[in-house]
C-alpha cells in the first residue's frame, strides 16, 4: 500500500516537472505565473501522498504551508506586476 | 445577534486549532493565545452584523458546487484528451445582480471551478467571463449560482 503511494507520488512529480518546463517557456509572463497554481495543487498532492507513505505525517504541515504560500505568491505576483503596468507598458508583449 | 456571531467564531477557531494540532493536549497554551488573537483580528476585519448566512443555504450551495465541479473537471479533461478540443472561446459580459461584497467574491471564485467559465474581470456593475464554448447557455448557469449564493447569504438579488 505504501509503495503504491510512493509510486503515485513519483508519477505526479514527473507530471509536475513536465508542466513546469512548459510553463517556464511562456510565452507571456501570465503563463509563467501558472507555476504558483501548479505548486498549490500538484505540489500539495505529492506532499500528502508522501506524508502517508512512511511514518511522516508531519509532511502534512508542509502541504498546508504550500497551499498557503501558493495563494500568497500568486496574489502578490499578480497584484505587483499589475500596478507596475504604467511603468513598463509594452515591455513584455504577447509575442 | 452579535453574541451569536462571536460564539460561532470561537467555536470555529477552536475547531480549526484542534484539527491543525491533531488534538495534541500540550498545544492549548499557545492555542488559547492564537484563538483570542484570531477572534480579535476577525472582529476588526469582518465586523459582525455585516452579513448573515443560512446553514441550509450553505448545504445546497456545497451540493451544487461539488456536483458541478466534478462535471467541469471531467469535461475539460476530455477536451484535453480529444484530438480536436472543440473550443469556441470568447469573453462574455454578464451584468451582476448580487450586491457588492462577499457574495460577489464567492461568485467570482466559484465560477472558476464551474464548467466552461473563468472569471477574467470584475467591475462595479459587470462580470467578465472567459467561456470555453460560447454556444453554451452560460448566463443561465451564472443566474443559478447567483440565486444559491443569495440564499446562502440571506441577501436579495438586484434587478439588472
Amino acid at each position: 500500500m505504501n509503495d503504491f503511494n510512493l509510486l503515485l507520488a513519483v508519477f505526479l512529480l514527473v507530471n509536475l516537472i513536465i508542466a513546469l518546463l512548459r510553463v517556464a517557456r511562456g510565452p507571456t509572463d501570465a503563463d509563467r505565473l501558472l507555476a504558483a497554481l501548479l505548486f498549490g495543487t500538484t505540489g500539495v498532492a505529492i506532499l500528502l501522498l508522501l506524508a502517508f507513505t512512511a511514518d511522516t505525517l508531519v509532511l502534512m504541515d508542509v502541504a498546508l504551508v504550500f497551499a498557503l504560500l501558493a495563494a500568497i505568491t500568486g496574489a502578490v505576483f499578480a497584484q505587483r506586476a499589475w500596478r507596475m503596468e504604467g511603468v513598463e507598458e509594452g515591455k513584455d508583449g504577447n509575442s | 445577534m452579535i453574541l451569536r456571531t462571536v460564539f460561532l467564531r470561537i467555536v470555529l477557531f477552536i475547531a480549526v486549532w484542534w484539527i491543525l494540532t491533531q488534538g495534541r493536549a500540550d498545544s492549548w497554551g499557545v492555542g488559547l493565545i492564537s484563538i483570542v488573537s484570531a477572534l480579535i483580528v476577525s472582529l476588526v476585519l469582518l465586523p459582525p452584523g455585516l452579513f448573515r448566512f443560512s446553514f441550509a443555504g450553505i448545504f445546497f450551495f456545497l451540493l451544487y458546487f461539488l456536483s458541478r465541479s466534478l462535471k467541469s473537471g471531467i469535461q475539460v479533461a476530455l477536451m484535453a484528451a480529444r484530438l480536436d478540443p472543440g473550443f469556441h472561446p470568447n469573453i462574455q459580459e454578464i451584468p451582476l445582480r448580487l450586491p457588492e461584497g462577499l457574495g460577489r467574491v464567492i461568485l467570482v471564485n466559484t465560477l472558476n471551478l464551474m464548467p466552461g467559465t473563468l472569471s477574467v474581470d470584475l467591475t462595479a456593475s459587470s462580470l467578465y467571463l472567459h467561456v470555453l464554448d460560447e454556444r453554451q447557455p452560460i448566463e443561465a448557469q451564472v443566474r443559478d449560482i447567483e440565486k444559491l449564493i443569495a440564499h446562502m447569504l440571506c441577501v436579495e438579488l438586484e434587478e439588472s
Binding site: 501548479l38 498532492a45 | 473537471g73 475539460v76 466559484t110
Partner: protein, 104 residues
C-alpha cells in the same frame, strides 16, 4: 486486499489520471486562458480525488479533518489565483485565442 484499501487505490489512481489530463491540457491548449481552465478545474478535481483516496488511509479523525482543511484551502487559493492571473493577462492585453471559423 481489504475493501477500504481497494477504494483508496481506485480514488488515488483516478486522481493521478486527472492530474495527467491537466498536464496534457496545459501542453496542448492554445492560450493562457484555456490553460487556466485546465489547471483550475482538472487539477483541483485531481487533488480532491487524491484526498478522498487518502481519507481511507487516515489513522485518525483529526488527520482526516486536517487533509479536508488542506483541500478547502488549496481550492480557495487556486480559484483566487486563477482569477488574478486571468485579470492580469486581460489587462496586459493578452488576446484570447479564437477558433478559425470565429475569426471570419
Amino acid at each position: 486486499m481489504a475493501i477500504p484499501e481497494l477504494l483508496s487505490s481506485i480514488f488515488l489512481v483516478m486522481g493521478a489520471a486527472f492530474f495527467m489530463a491537466g498536464t496534457i491540457g496545459l501542453l496542448r491548449f492554445p492560450d493562457v486562458y484555456t490553460r487556466l481552465h485546465a489547471l483550475a478545474k482538472v487539477d483541483n478535481l485531481g487533488l480532491g480525488l487524491i484526498i478522498l483516496g487518502l481519507l481511507f488511509q487516515a489513522p485518525g479523525l483529526t488527520v482526516a479533518l486536517k487533509i479536508i482543511l488542506i483541500w478547502l484551502l488549496a481550492l480557495a487559493a487556486s480559484s483566487a489565483v486563477s482569477f488574478l492571473i486571468a485579470r492580469r493577462a486581460l489587462n496586459r492585453g493578452v488576446a484570447p485565442w479564437k477558433a478559425k471559423e470565429q475569426k471570419i
